[in-house]
């Protein structure tokens, strides 16, 4: 169901897609492609429709217009082979599920009945835990792990069925700096080594700089996509936002001043705007 069945062309192709939820148009005329082996960022301010876009790709919402082709097909049934890491998963520390149990459920959690022990399955789970560098805490309850550790386990859960496409919704939110770097490096490595197309949503572009191959930027109901340097551009982003936007590059970091007026600049402080929020 993966690898060789569909090797030419994009893994995901979205064209002229509009999403309407509850009578409101969330996104209009979205066009982009994702290719295997590429790590793409889905960047945009909070509330810009990143989660809705991911959930539409997964088949939770139907686009009002336009098309989504996954591995060349437009149906929803084949989307079961998309890996997904949801925005936040809150697990009680008392839930008796170890990290490795959750990864194992990624393999066969949708099957009915109870399973018999299997060496082959155990080896697959161990391999996956190794791939996300999670062997050290594989036998701990998932609810007791730190945010970064939980993210790695959720990535392993999503990847164990060998999807061609992995979607992650704000996996870096609420992680400490070291964990952010770890998760980004891990995903970058997985995309290139295992030829997976990865789309990761984030409201801050900076942790992904250098790791991203492509970028889909959503704002104001529209999306722009392409190589990072083409999209992160005053002109492109100003068109997207519908008012003048400045892209400022400071010491390798990118600040995007998205405020429509001066109120977003505080005298005496760096021009840290809602969406740029880079770390000190």
């Amino acid at each position: 169901m993966n690898s060789d069945t569909y090797n030419s062309g994009p893994v995901l192709a979205i064209s002229k897609m509009s999403i309407v939820l509850g009578g409101n148009e969330i996104l209009h005329d979205v066009n982009f492609e994702l290719h295997s082996g590429e790590f793409s960022g889905l960047i945009g301010p909070n509330g810009s429709g990143k989660t809705t876009l991911l959930r539409t790709i997964l088949g939770f919402h139907r686009p009002a217009e336009g098309s989504i082709h996954f591995e060349g097909k437009s149906g929803f049934a084949n989307r079961r082979s998309i890996g997904y890491v949801p925005q936040k998963i809150l697990l009680d520390p008392d839930v008796p599920v170890r990290a490795r149990d959750l990864v194992e459920l990624g393999l066969d959690g949708h099957r009915l009945g109870i399973r018999l022990p299997s060496k082959e399955r155990r080896r697959q789970v161990d391999d996956m835990l190794h791939a996300v560098n999670a062997e050290a805490f594989a036998d701990q309850r998932i609810g007791q792990l730190s945010g970064g550790q939980q993210q790695r386990i959720l990535i392993a859960h999503a990847l164990i069925r060998r999807p061609r496409l992995l979607l992650l919704d704000e996996p870096l939110a609420n992680l400490d700096i070291r964990s952010v770097a770890e998760v980004v490096n891990l995903l970058n490595q997985l995309a290139h080594q295992q030829r997976i197309a990865i789309l990761l949503s984030a409201h801050d572009i900076n942790p992904l700089m250098g790791a991203m191959d492509r970028l889909v930027y959503v704002a104001n109901g529209h999306a722009a996509s392409g190589p990072v340097n083409e999209v992160i551009d005053d002109k492109v982003l100003s068109t997207l936002y519908g008012y003048h936007v400045d892209v400022i590059r400071v010491h390798g970091r990118i600040l995007i001043t998205t405020g429509p007026g001066d109120e977003y600049f505080e005298p005496g402080r760096d021009c840290v705007t809602p969406e740029t929020s880079s770390l000190p």
Partner: protein
């Protein structure tokens, strides 16, 4: 040696028909409730479970008026209650609390009516106590076959649904992405919950059935690290406390003034004591979590 055994198992314990029925019905109810209880606790449905049990008491009390087997009354009303909760809406946590509360209130109102009618229009003066607090030694032996059917059907559904139910209890979204019909699994879990509390209701009574549903599961969740082990441990705790409770109740004739102690009281007390004694295994609180300090990224302005 014989004296020792006799002092534990009073003469007649193993040959008494009502004791056999109690051991069988109580044991089945305990196993089913404890296993279903694991998922009830993980899914945060303890209130729904307790409410279903109370709602089922309307069916239990109606069975005296209709002249049907009490289990059918409890079961019918519990499933009706579970269906009503689903209809009112149990998807969101808040909606679930509201749905549960609404159905709970209506069901208990019916129970009040039927119990009143039981006492005033039929000759079953003990109906109230039997329905609410159970009367394990007075279960008609004809109930056994029904208990076998309901208990094994419930466990069979549980076994079939095990993995999808576990995954959708952990996170409905990743379950849905994996192709699980989360809503359907949730509805079936409510039906399973309904039949588990109905089985407990005829054993320890509608009100006390929560003890068998939550107690053994909570004990197992304290100790077990894996889901499969938690299920077995809960079943074992439920079965053990129920059987020991029945034995103690049988033996208790000589304790005070020649009367038996209420078996339901003894069982739920044992369940509670076992929960208190159960301690998480050492190293339960992982040390890795505390090593990593979490520095939240600056969040955007509202």
């Amino acid at each position: 040696m014989n004296n020792f055994i006799n002092s534990i198992f009073q003469p007649g314990f193993f040959s008494s028909g009502p004791v056999h029925t109690a051991l069988f019905v109580g044991g089945t109810a305990a196993i089913v409730s404890s296993v279903v209880g694991i998922f009830t606790v993980i899914r945060g449905q303890a209130f729904a479970g307790h409410s279903l049990a109370d709602v089922s008491s309307a069916g239990g009390s109606a069975s005296y008026l209709l002249g049907i087997n009490p289990l059918l009354g409890f079961l019918g009303m519990a499933i009706l209650g579970a269906g009503s909760m689903e209809l009112v809406g149990v998807e969101k946590a808040r909606g679930r609390d509201l749905a549960t509360g609404v159905v709970f209130g209506a069901g208990l109102g019916l129970a009040a009516l039927f119990l009143y009618l039981d006492v005033t229009t039929t000759s079953t003066s003990g109906a109230t106590v039997a329905v609410l607090f159970g009367s394990m030694f007075a279960i008609p032996s004809s109930t056994v076959i029904l208990v076998v059917l309901v208990g094994s059907a419930t466990l069979a559904v549980m076994v079939v649904l095990y993995r999808p139910l576990l995954l959708s209890s952990l996170n409905p979204e990743i379950a849905a992405v994996q192709g699980i019909h989360v809503r359907l699994v949730g509805m079936l879990q409510m039906l399973i919950l309904g039949s588990a509390v109905a089985l407990s209701a005829i054993s320890v009574g509608a009100i006390l059935s929560t003890a068998l549903l939550i107690g053994p599961a909570a004990t197992a969740l304290r100790i077990a690290k894996r889901p499969g082990f938690a299920v077995w441990l809960a079943a074992l705790v439920g079965l053990g406390t129920t059987w020991i409770g029945i034995l103690l109740a049988y033996d208790s004739t000589g304790w005070i003034s020649g009367h038996n102690w209420p078996v339901s009281f003894l069982i739920v007390t044992l369940v509670f004591l076992v929960y208190l004694i159960a301690r998480p295994r050492s190293g339960h609180r992982g040390s890795i979590t505390s090593k990593e300090t979490s520095i939240p990224l600056p969040t955007s302005r509202p």
